[in-house]
Structure formats: C-alpha cells, structure tokens
Amino acid sequence: MSELSDNAKKVIEDHLGRYPSKQAVTLPALHVVQQETGCVSRKAIKEIADMLELSPAQINDTLSFYGFFRTEEDPLGKKRVWICRSLPCMLRGGEELLAELCERWGILPGQTTADGKVTLELAECLGACDGAPCMLVDDELSLCVTADDVEKMVRG
C-alpha cells in the first residue's frame, strides 16, 4: 500500500508545474506529508523521491537540514507549540514561559506530552516581537501569552 495519501500525491503533482526542476517540490512535499501524518516516514521519503526522480538520500539530505521535519521515531503530537526565546521575547519573559511549560508538562523542548496532545518546541525569533513573549501553535501566532493562556489554547 502507498504511504502517501491521494491528497499528498495530488499536492505534489500540482506543484510540479510551478518549478523548472522537480527537486524544487521537495519542501512542499515534505510539508504536506508531515501535516497529514505528523512525521515523514522512511517509506514516505522513498515515495517522494520516486515522484521527484531523486534518490531518497537527496530528500533526506534536505529534510535533515531543517529542524522542522520529524522522522517516524519521533512524531509530533496533535498540536505543536513553539515558544520564542530570542532577544525581544527573552527580555519580556520568553525563557521563563518556556521553563514554566516544561515544568507543568514534565517534558523538555522537542518532546511530546505523554497523552500525545502537545509537542513543545523552542523557537528562535517568530517575528511577533511587538507581542513578546509570543508563541506559534502549528502555524498561527499568538502574542503576549502567559503559561495559563498556552494551557487553555492547546489543552483546553
């Protein structure tokens, strides 16, 4: 059975016409697979490579460069929460917020809660320094957040 969903295959095929090289579809392909399955499995890497006429090593080379993508040994929880720790957020309590969430949830940045609901990540500048400390849930920014806000939003 195919590891890539019909939707993922369609997204990849739709992107092929946008670039003069098939390799350029690597990031869009990795994004759609991770969005659907919470990771990019070895089988998915092989199938993406086949669609883009590349070797799996080339896909893995790109995948492993960006800390963003997860392998099947280390999949994401249902929600992915990024807490910013760069200077503007650090000056307004970003580091303390991250430490507080680690303590409350009993995990370190990069890990997922035991119930599989939340993966906590540390982020470098999220581009919302006017609302420090800020966080990103999946790909939506929230400004001026407290640990209670985060709990409410992601574990409700």
Partner: protein, 444 residues
Amino acid sequence: MSNEDFKPVLLSRQGKPNSHKLASYKADGGYQALAKALSMKNTEVIDVVKASGLRGRGGAGFPTGLKWTFLPKDVTGPIYLCINGDESEPGTFNNRVLIEQDPHQVLEGIVISSFATRTTTAYFYLRYEYGRCYRVLKDAIDEMYDNHLLGKNILGSGYDLDIHLHRGACAYICGEETGLIESLEGKRAWPRIKPPFPAIEGAFRRPTVVNNVETMACIPHIINKGAEWFMTMGVPKDPNNPRDAGSYGPKLYCISGHVNKPGLVELPMGITARELIDKHAGGVWKGRKAKAVVPGGISMGFMSEKELDTPLDFAGPGRVGCLGLGTAAVIVIDDHTSMVDVLYNACRFFAHESCGQCTPCREGTAWSTKILERIRQGHGKLSDIDVLLEISSSIGTIPGTTICGLADGAAWPMKTAINKFRAEFEEYIKSGRKSESKTLAGAH
C-alpha cells in the same frame, strides 16, 4: 520634510476594514501604478526606481534599481524574481504586518518589479511561521488571477506573470539570498560562493533578482508619485562621501523589548533612536533607563545609552561601531538587564542558526556560546573576554573567512557588547556570580 508633517505611506491603509481585500485596495487607488508601469518601457520603470534612490529594506541596503540593471541585457530564456519573505532577524516583524494588513500593496510592487526585470515567474519565499500571511497572500493572489492582474495578458498589456508562494521550514539562513535560492530549489539552504551573483546565475541557474517584501511595498508609490517625491523623505547623500548612496524614503521601524509601547512605526529615514523610543514607543518601561539598544536586528550589535542620538539611516549606526541599519528593528534593553545574559542570548541564536557550512562560523558561534554559558555559571575567566573578541574578529565575510554574512552578524553583538560594556563583563566574571536568568541549557 519634517517628521511632524509626515503621513504614513506604507502603513496608510492599516486598520481599515478589509484592508487585505482587492476591492478595498482598488478603492484607495490600488493597481493604478501597475497600469502606469505597464504603459511604460520596462527600462523606464528601472530608471524611475534607480532615480528614487530606493535601497533594499532587507538589511544590506543595496540600491534596488541598480541591482535590477545587473541582469544580463541579451538573455534568452527565463529570468526569476524571488521575494524574500523569510523575515527572521530577531526584533523584525514589518513584513508580517505589511502582508497581513495590505497584501496587495506588496503584490502590486512584485508585478511592477517583475515587469521591470522581464520576469514571467516570481517566487514568494515566505517563512513557515507566517501561516496567517500565507493564507492572506493565497487569497489575494487568487483575487488577482480573477481580475486580470496576474496570469496571461495582465490588464490587456500582453505581459504575462505567475506568482508562486513557497513556504520555508524554519531556518534563519534562508533569508540570505543564495541560501533562499538553494532552499527554493529543494536543497539544504547552504549559501553559495559569489560570484557568480544571482543576477547572472541564481535560481535554477538562471538570472535572478532577490528583493525584500518592504522594498516591494515601496515600488507602487514610487511609480505613482515619482522619484523626486520619494527623495523628499529621508537623509540626502553625504556630499563629502562619494560612496554614500543616501537614505531616502519612508522606513518601517520595529520597536520591541523594554519599552511601554512596542510596535511598528513608519517614519522618514533618519529618526534618532532616542526620539523613536521616547516619542513613538512610550519611553523605556517601568520608569527605567535604557542601557543598550539594538539599531536593526541583533546582527547589527549594540548602541550604548550615550549613542542614542544616532540617526537610524543607512550610515548612522555604522558611525557608532554597529554593523549598519540592518532591518531597522530597534530592541531596547533596560538598565536592570545583564549584558552577559543579552550577549549569551544573541550568541546562542547564531549558534542555533549557523548552517554549519563554514568552519569559522560553525565553531565560532558554538564556542562563543559555550564560553558565555560558562561565565553565566560563575566559572568565567578574565581571559575569556579577549578570547570572545578574538573570535569576533575572525569570523565572517569582513575578515574573509566565511561564505555569507551570518557570522558577521554573530560577531558584531560580541564586539560591541564587549567594547562598550567591558567593565560590566569584568565585574561579572570577578564576582563569580551565576546568572539569575532562566534558560534551559540542555535543550537543543
């Protein structure tokens, strides 16, 4: 033009209902500049942009019109325009606000710039974290296709253009123009050795221009109102310095850190940091004083309190030992904050974001972070200070040891923090105290 008479240009439509919709943009005169540009020759458009003195807003401040003229004249086959929306420099958020609130202003600039550079395919590289921007842009681009503003025969002119959105994957280095190109091509974002410059051999080995989002937002206004109008704002060229290209036009200043009102302010180039903080950001918070201020994203280094009357134009920050204006992202640090903690934070950022390609950068950023961590644990040695200074003068494109400028960005916070606050570092090390700031040293 004085700052008091100034009316926002790029932010003029902020806060209007449906400011992100095509109908609202058109009601305010949107896409008239495009119609005007399409009635001109592409070289005439370049000449207007060149004459305006517009310099790139992404950090390096390279003259935009001049960059366009570097494309080979007699080229056959595609030319690409890449829009750098990978805004990741700590303190910087103007692209986010511009895109979320007024995407068509940016997109109109892209179509005009594509026409000027004879591009028929433009790639908008957007950092992944800007999910809302992505959705806003996607809708705006759909509206454009439905209204003959993109696709074949734009506004009946015979000119064709497609814009494709391309999402990044959370890597700062993709903001470096050749790192962006490598990432767009589906590879690790390792910056390329230049030459060849992108204008000769860029994306997909074709002639390519990479421009910043705020730069694009300036273009429709320059076409509408002319180069002379643009030059009424900002700081003119220094007649005694033939290499100074001036600092013309409006600029978006991002203010963050220890101020009462962090936010985005648009002003003519050249306002001082002090005026920006006191008049436009409600002053330093909690009645405190500023100890240090970052003039344009942490890569630029620090200004001391005494240097706050420096004008924030392209030339100003350099006169007080900073790297430049950068992204004009002003980060204010109050006098209760330890510069050791601040510098540690900056060094850790660059260690995390170094792509690892050049040894001086990979090792220099990692070891400087480790040394500062040791100082923060109370185990620093006075000789560490000079080791940090030595690292800072050995990494980067200025000493000539790296391919791209990331390491220069790592070096300048070190140089300026230590040169301007050396006594504080010495006192901290001699006291043997530990940092009170919470950080998760073990993470990543």
